[in-house]
């Protein structure tokens, strides 16, 4: 047997391969669960129950989906350009920082104005947090994977500093926490869920149009395919990188604002807890398609919610969900081999291919 390139597969067979990969991940982690003495079937069923079993649980799952979806959209633009933005976690925190600045200092403003200022503050801070590595990447070719990753730690230390020192609430009786937002700094609700979901869906449309129907979006994908081609086509690579990365980081920052203003009502180092990393998986899983990433984010939110449910009910660590997420991506990554290549018997292909 030898490996040969495969012609383009239809969307349908690609989807089937992906679904098979997810099933395989469930089987393998099932075996793992049996080894450690658990009943996988029972765990999977209660995970789904914990995520979707009641109106309240569904709303909680949607709450988890929203930041994941928004962050994935921000990461997607970068990945399309093969710019490895691993720093979404930091961009979320810096975005939340920008939003919190306005929420704490301008709480007297009317709600719509305050919320818009918070969103802008978040997008600018998140944007800057990705703009810095993007500038260095464009100018010197500095490795963006490590740069963005290190900025995660810097951002988290910065928030720690704010929470434990600079912005510590003096009325919290010595507790290291920041003051709660006032009511007019909180996102309004629609159908029982904060309007972050509307923002997320609008962004899905925006990113879809941006990537598929605008000049800049087209340039982004050309740069991702080959920088040489882009240069030959007369695309200003540096300008495109810098501009789109500011947007991408801004969207991740907005996810931070949605979290503080929609869920927690205050900023703390506990805010994101890995959304920026999970979003990398969902982005890749979606094949960099904005509509598909909605499904991927929802699937992973179900896993997360289910994970914390089994932790409370069966005392099984919620990290089962994390392992399952990683396994799913392992299998999807592996299954891409079947999409791009095929095995052919050595004898037959002597004259051909």
């Amino acid at each position: 047997m030898r490996i040969a390139k495969r012609d383009e597969l239809t969307g349908k067979s690609v989807a089937i391969i992906r679904i098979l990969a997810i099933l395989a991940a469930l089987v393998i982690s099932g075996i793992f669960l049996i080894i450690v003495g658990e009943n996988p079937l029972q765990i999977y069923i209660s995970m789904v129950d914990g995520a979707l079993g009641s109106g309240f649980r569904i709303r909680e799952t949607i709450h988890t989906t929203i930041p994941l979806l928004v962050t994935s959209l921000g990461i997607m633009i970068a990945f399309k350009m093969k710019f490895w933005n691993i720093g979404a976690e930091g961009q979320i925190y810096m975005g939340a920082f920008g939003a919190t600045y306005f929420a704490l200092n301008f709480s007297y403003l009317p709600k719509p104005i305050l919320l818009i200022l918070m969103a802008l503050g978040a997008m600018i801070m998140g944007g800057i947090w990705l703009l810095i590595p993007a500038l260095f990447k464009a100018k010197f070719g500095t490795n963006e994977t490590l740069f963005t990753l290190m900025l995660n730690y810097v951002a988290i230390k910065w928030i720690t500093f704010l929470q434990f020192s600079l912005w510590k609430d003096p009325n919290a009786m010595g507790f290291p926490r920041m003051a709660n937002f006032t009511e007019n700094a909180m996102l309004p609700k629609l159908f029982g869920v904060h309007i972050g979901w509307v923002v997320a869906l609008i962004l899905v449309g925006f990113i879809y149009v941006f990537m598929n129907h605008t000049k800049t979006g087209y340039e982004v994908s050309v740069i991702g395919e080959s920088e040489d081609t882009a240069r030959y086509a007369g695309i200003n690579i540096k300008k495109t990188i810098i501009r789109t990365m500011f947007i991408g980081g801004g969207i991740c920052g907005l996810a931070g604002m949605i979290q503080v203003a929609g869920i927690s009502g205050t900023l703390s180092v506990e805010l994101s807890r890995g959304v920026g990393f999970t979003a990398i998986i969902t982005t890749w899983l979606s094949g960099l398609s904005a509509p598909v990433v909605v499904i991927a984010s929802l699937l992973f939110a179900i896993l997360e919610q289910g994970g914390s449910f089994i932790q409370t009910v069966y005392q099984i660590p919620s990290s089962v969900a994390q392992i399952l997420q990683a396994l799913i991506l392992f299998f999807v990554l592996g299954s891409e081999f079947n999409i791009k290549y095929k095995l052919v018997p050595t004898k037959k292909s002597k004259g051909g291919i």
Partner: protein, 309 residues
């Protein structure tokens, strides 16, 4: 004061050293493995659990190396055999490793290791060498794990630059098609050295849980693996330079804590940023003064596919 600081620097730098050496091996055969953090924490948790249950330090180290190697094997299968994207596969390995460690470790959080382990990693001054002024105390009054680190540097240096095996490794990293034409079994080499690299990362993680901390806590690696990936660039893929980088960054990671004693007008939380900001500065400097000698292996990040050469 300075001696005791530098002594502590070597200790703080040792996990970085093992991880950097491991990643150098992987990158030399052309595979960028961003799963260092994941392999380290897998090694860390396995080393701790086996050490806690058996009280046997050698078994604990073996388990840690095996766990790191297992992570690397998953990575190798995906990127070498199935030609999956190296960046994303490595990232996923880190996420997997973190979940794996927090799952297996949840029963032993905060537990202490048996004395047999702690005693094994007590300081063993090396006769004669330890009497060298200044250097003796810093380098040769350490525990056996740290000496093993020196040995690993030398072994890796000899392997890469003085043996045929090393020549083949470097050829795969620089020009896989040429290596293939020379009859080198690329797949076998890649699997071997990616896995070996993973074992070294696992040992680096074990140093944290068995010697440095030495209690199991979640997120015990806290970015050490990522700094190691940056150190590979800093050390220009050279194991001898890796040792300086690792100890330098080891020093940076403890300097904030030590400076507290001086009542500086700067918050400890901001000083905690130091290792990460320094890593960024190193990355920038290395990218500005790019030259022929400190270039990454040319094949880094590419899957080798014979029909595409």
């Amino acid at each position: 004061m300075l001696v005791s600081f530098l002594h502590a620097t070597v200790q703080a730098g040792t996990p970085l050293l093992f991880a950097t050496l491991g990643e150098i091996l992987s990158q030399k055969v052309g595979n960028l493995n961003l799963g260092v953090e994941g392999m380290m924490i897998m090694g860390s948790v396995m080393g701790f659990i086996v050490g806690y249950n058996t009280g046997d330090p050698m078994l604990a180290l073996l388990a840690a190396a095996a766990a790191g190697a297992l992570g690397a094997l998953i990575y190798a299968f995906l990127t070498v055999t199935l030609k999956a994207n190296q960046e994303v596969t490595g990232l996923t390995l880190t996420i997997f490793g973190t979940g794996f460690a927090s799952f297996l470790g949840h029963n032993v959080v905060g537990y202490r290791l048996p004395d047999a382990i702690n005693n094994f990693f007590l300081r063993i001054p090396i006769p004669l060498l330890k009497d060298i002024p200044f250097i003796g105390e810093i380098l040769f009054n350490q525990n056996i794990f740290i000496y093993f680190g020196y040995l690993a540097v030398v072994l890796l240096g000899v392997l890469l630059y003085k043996t045929n095996l090393g020549l083949n490794i470097r050829m795969i990293g620089e020009n896989a098609a040429a290596a293939d034409a020379n009859g080198i079994n690329i797949v076998k080499y890649k699997y071997t050295f990616i896995t070996l690299g993973g074992a070294l990362c696992g040992l680096g993680g074990a140093y944290l849980s068995l010697v440095y901390v030495p209690v199991w806590q979640e997120n015990i690696t806290s970015g050490v693996g990522w700094i190691a990936v940056a150190l590979v660039i800093f050390s220009v893929w050279n194991p001898y330079r890796a040792i300086f980088g690792a100890y330098f960054f080891g020093g940076l990671s403890i300097v904030g804590f030590r400076l507290q004693a001086f009542n500086l007008p700067i918050s400890i939380y901001l000083l905690d940023m130091l290792p990460y900001i320094s890593t960024i500065i190193v990355l920038i400097i290395m990218s500005i003064k790019k030259s022929k000698e400190n270039k990454a292996p040319s094949e880094l990040g590419h899957a080798y596919f014979r029909e595409e050469r």
